[in-house]
Amino acid sequence: MPRPSAPADNADLLCVCRDALVRWGKDARRTASLMVGQPDYEVYVAHAEATHPDQPPLDRTAFFRLHEARRFGAGGAFRCC
């Protein structure tokens, strides 16, 4: 059996691990903020720029306040017993 080229493999493994950690961290942050009714702002900006390049997207604060108001507005905030 040929000896595996250890250094290169280790570097790959490190990369894979780091990427996975970064992804998990991002997902965890997104999950936590969606749990309190705040969707991802970056996703919204990307979507707004792709679909309505002519209009400026809401800024972070306006986006935050909009969702804050919706979570506790009419029809929102059903939560289990």
């Binding site: 903020s33 979570r71 506790f72 059903f78």
Partner: protein
């Protein structure tokens, strides 16, 4: 190869689960490790998820991964956003997991651990998760419409309105019973009252911070908030011991009830960013943290179950709640086995965030299995306590008296032995004056959690900290639910009153706002107050009402699911929703009629009213009444509860009639008649134009 691997893995899981269930079944009369219950539950969930959820997805519902979901069709980056499934799973789980799965199993532990464990597992797998998944599926196919909307379009306008009124009645009862749980936990407890009161200034500080200092920085302010909460728990111990502040924070149940009504009113009228939203962050993150902590704690400590597998109280004579195993076990444990309230969440924001139909099993079925596991953990926390402690904590004063000596004597009659000194020592360990007669689930769960968590961190010295941590975490998210629920109810009332007085519909109008909020708080406040002054502890009459209401809503959701399957011409698979619907109907109708007509005064509301009427006619006073006026109020209260029960029965019976009619009608027609959004390739030009206009 893949098939063989699946067969091997799930064969092993099945064998492991069978061994765990075998251990539970064969070790009756001797204590077993809680780990066996955890293993049995996890194996049951794994098998159910891999096989039954997949069967439901493929055969029963016919999920289609190519069919665009509302999130994809209407993607606007705001309300309709395709969300990665893991993220959405967390969101959905946080929305469905509340106080219900923590309280119900603790109350049901009076019948022993076995009935509760079996119902939580069977109920979740065959009813609860099926309901959640079916509602999510139906709502996804209908642009994320709500349950009430779907009842209207699939079953007709009259059942639609009945369902809406039913939901409102359920909300009121839920808010009252949850508030009662908090009052029971905080009454005469200065430490607990102080820490919960401290959350108000902490939340206001957080609200101002996210509004003016650093808008939208939820993460950092939540961390600051949690640190402040922990300081409040530590400070609470000193406050309770203080000769001035200790008595100042020692409040009676009635004072707390009135304070909660005033507070609930204010919290739901003032702007949400000031109090409601920041407390929502704290309660959500604390809830998830505490649930994870409890799971880790159980695995590390591996406590032994002390409660017998089955107690004599299955005959209905139990001190915590009255009524025999059938039907009362099945309504006492609602959330965790099957909860109608989930139908409102599965048809709320979740379908608007779903990326693909093939994720419905994970989100709908999987999240409910997790909630069921929370219920299993709550049951474990209650049953690892000495049964004598459990019954001393959960029996009303009317049964065990108001001191440790009488309590120890009373539980000894049931065959559980503890000395009065041990009861008093336990109260001191958790930093309370007394732990007797604290029905409602929260304190028992808190002692159980303190027992488990102090085994991981801190030992006996930290027991009081963990107890008050557990009380705070429960009180915090119950209060958030009560305030947010008051707002939801307020909007529903405004909507209903708007039919007669259009001005009431204006959500920005202060008069309409204050009127509708006062009405909501008055409604749940009434039930809360009567529960607090009830000598049998209030939970005894309110929790069954809540359970009946919640299971009834589940039955309505499952009836709707059955109707939809018939209308899709998939009636040969309709048993998947029809069987749990019939079981829930049997349970709720039996329980409802027993609450109305049972001759035992502890169970039947009318029998109870009759007893007081006869005493009044003879000129006697029965506790807790001190005057003839009190007697009248108790009688009126019985009639109110009876009317409410009758209302629930009416709602569920009419839904059955309309459901059966809709199914029969769909059977006669030989093509599908559901009102779904068409699949993408069937989209008409008008639909596309509509979508563009909406975007």
């Amino acid at each position: 190869m893949g098939k063989l691997r699946t067969a091997l893995i799930f064969g092993a899981i099945a064998i492991l689960g069978a061994i765990a269930l075998g251990v539970i079944a064969l070790h009756q009369g001797e204590s077993i490790s809680a780990v066996w219950i955890v293993v049995a539950a996890l194996c049951v969930y794994a098998i159910a998820y891999r096989f039954y959820a997949r069967y439901l997805a493929g055969k029963v519902m016919g999920l289609n991964a190519k069919r665009p979901t509302p999130a994809v069709r209407h993607n606007d980056g705001l309300d309709y956003v395709p969300t990665p499934r893991n993220v959405l799973f967390g969101h959905h789980f946080a929305a469905i997991a509340g106080a219900g799965p923590l309280v119900g199993p603790v109350l049901a532990a009076q019948m022993g651990y076995l009935p509760g464990v079996l119902w939580i597992l069977v109920g979740a797998v065959l009813a609860g998760a099926v309901q959640d998944m079916m509602v999510l599926f139906m709502s996804t196919r209908r642009d994320g419409r709500s349950l009430g909307d779907m009842v209207r379009t699939e079953m007709g306008p009259i059942p639609g309105i009945i369902a809406q009124v039913g939901v409102l009645m359920i909300m009121v009862i839920i808010l009252a019973v949850l508030a009662l749980v908090v009052v029971k936990a905080l009454a005469e407890s200065p430490w607990g009252t102080f820490t919960v009161a401290a959350t108000i200034p902490i939340a206001i500080f957080m609200g101002l911070y996210t509004r003016y200092l650093r808008p939208g920085r939820v993460g950092e302010i939540s961390l600051i908030g949690v640190v402040l909460l922990i300081l409040a728990i530590i400070g609470g111990g000193h406050i309770a011991a203080d000769p001035f502040w200790g008595p100042a924070f020692t409040l009676s149940g009635t004072t707390l009830a009135i304070a909660m009504m005033a507070y609930g009113f204010v919290a739901s009228v003032i702007p949400v960013w000031l109090l409601l939203a920041p407390r929502d962050y704290l309660s959500t993150f604390l809830k998830i943290g505490a649930i994870l902590g409890l799971a880790v704690g159980i695995l590390i400590v591996r406590p032994h179950i002390q409660m017998p597998a089955v107690t004599p109280f299955i005959d209905g004579s139990g001190p915590v709640f009255s009524g025999a195993l059938f039907p009362f076990l099945f309504i006492t444990i609602a959330c965790g086995a099957v909860s109608g309230f989930h139908a409102l969440i599965s048809s709320g924001t979740t379908p608007k965030l779903l990326e693909n139909e093939n994720q419905i099993p994970l989100i709908g079925y999987g999240a409910m299995l997790c909630e069921s596991f929370v219920a299993i953990m709550a049951l474990i926390a209650a049953t690892v306590l000495d049964p004598a402690v459990y019954f001393a904590m959960n029996s009303p004063v009317a049964v065990i008296g108001d001191n440790a000596v009488s309590a120890a004597a009373a539980v000894a009659q049931w065959g559980f032995h503890i000395t009065p000194a041990e009861l008093e020592q336990l109260a001191r360990d958790v930093g309370e004056h007394s732990i007797l007669s604290r029905a409602g689930g929260a304190p028992t769960l808190a002692v159980g959690m303190a027992h488990i968590l102090s085994g991981v961190i801190g030992g006996k010295a930290m027991m009081a900290f963990w107890y008050h941590f557990a009380i705070l975490f429960e009180a915090l998210f119950i209060l958030t639910t009560v305030d947010a629920g008051t707002r939801v109810c307020r909007f529903m009332i405004q909507d209903l009153l708007g039919v007669a007085v259009p001005k009431m519909r204006e959500t920005k109008s202060w008069t309409a706002n204050v009127l509708a909020t006062a009405l909501t708080v008055g409604l749940w406040g009434y039930f809360l107050y009567t529960g607090v002054v009830d000598p049998l502890g209030g939970i005894n009459s309110l929790w069954p009402l809540f359970g009946i209401a919640n299971q009834m809503l589940a039955a309505v959701a499952l009836i709707l699911g059955t109707v939809v399957l018939f209308k899709m011409k998939r009636e040969r698979f309709a048993w998947a929703t029809a069987v749990p619907a019939v079981w829930l109907l049997i349970c709720t109708l039996t329980a409802g009629f027993q609450k109305l007509l049972h001759p035992d005064v502890k169970i039947g509301f009318l029998a109870h009213a009759r007893k007081y009427q006869e005493a009044l006619a003879a000129g006697d006073l029965l506790a807790p009444a001190k005057t003839a006026g009190d007697m009248h109020r108790i009688i009126i209260n019985d009639y109110v509860n009876s009317a409410l029960t009758a209302g629930f029965l009416f709602v569920v019976l009419t839904m059955v009639v309309y459901g059966v009619r809709a199914c029969l009608k769909a059977r006669r027609i030989n093509h599908p008649t559901v009102v779904e959004q068409p699949a993408a390739h069937e989209l008409t030009l008008e639909d596309e134009a509509m979508d563009i206009a909406r975007a």
